[in-house]
Amino acid sequence: MLAQWGRPVLRARLDFSVGSGHRSIVNGIATSLEGSPPGLTSEKTGQELVCYWLDRCDDFMDQQRKHLIEREPSPRELAEHVDTLKFMIRVTLSLQALVADPDSPARRFARQISGKLLQLQASLDLLLNPMTDADADAVLAAAFPNGSGARSLA
């Protein structure tokens, strides 16, 4: 999995250097770990890792909204985004397994990680939905005769 960090598409889509949350976490680590007992250090690091990743997922969802939902993406943009999305899902699944450990210091974040994973997986379902627009319109027109937001064929 780590080998994928070097792929050009991921470098382009996952800019880990931006985001105020990331900077504050890095600064927090730099200032707070000095002189901390080992247990507290690992606990803080684990929690900050989870917070950092949740921030990145939110940034990713914001970009998805702006570039793939609010406007029609090109086939290449869609393919690159889906590739990155699958990577995000894999990392979040790994993090979910990590915090599920009974001894994990970040166990209290299990709910947030599960919620974010649901959102990422739903995004993949949304973007790879095999139903055609015409089929969707037909289903919705039959189910909602008062209006499906599509042009009527009548």
Binding site: Q112, L118, Q119, D133, N146
Partner: protein
């Protein structure tokens, strides 16, 4: 509530399904996503049962409609401007 300007009429129940899906996808922070996802699927199950449709079919149709519904709206991006 956002102001939608669709070229063709939309059933309020369908619009509520799309809004429910949008609220789930737009949630941030991780705290409420699970509940919002369950709420959306509960609405889909109720709407599908009332119409004798498979929930999976209605869900797929709503999800397929969702980007077009967003693009047909006249609201700006919810993203804050970058500094």
């Amino acid at each position: 509530m956002l102001s939608w300007r669709l070229p063709f009429p939309m059933d309020p129940e369908l619009e509520a399904l799309l809004e429910s899906y949008d609220v789930f996808l737009e949630a941030r922070g991780g705290s409420n996503e699970g509940q919002l996802f369950a709420a959306y699927h509960s609405r889909i199950a109720d709407a599908a049962a009332a119409r004798r449709l498979a929930p999976e079919t209605l869900d797929a149709a709503v999800r397929k409609k969702y980007p077009r519904w967003i693009r047909a709206s006249d609201h700006p991006s919810s993203l804050p401007p970058k500094a």
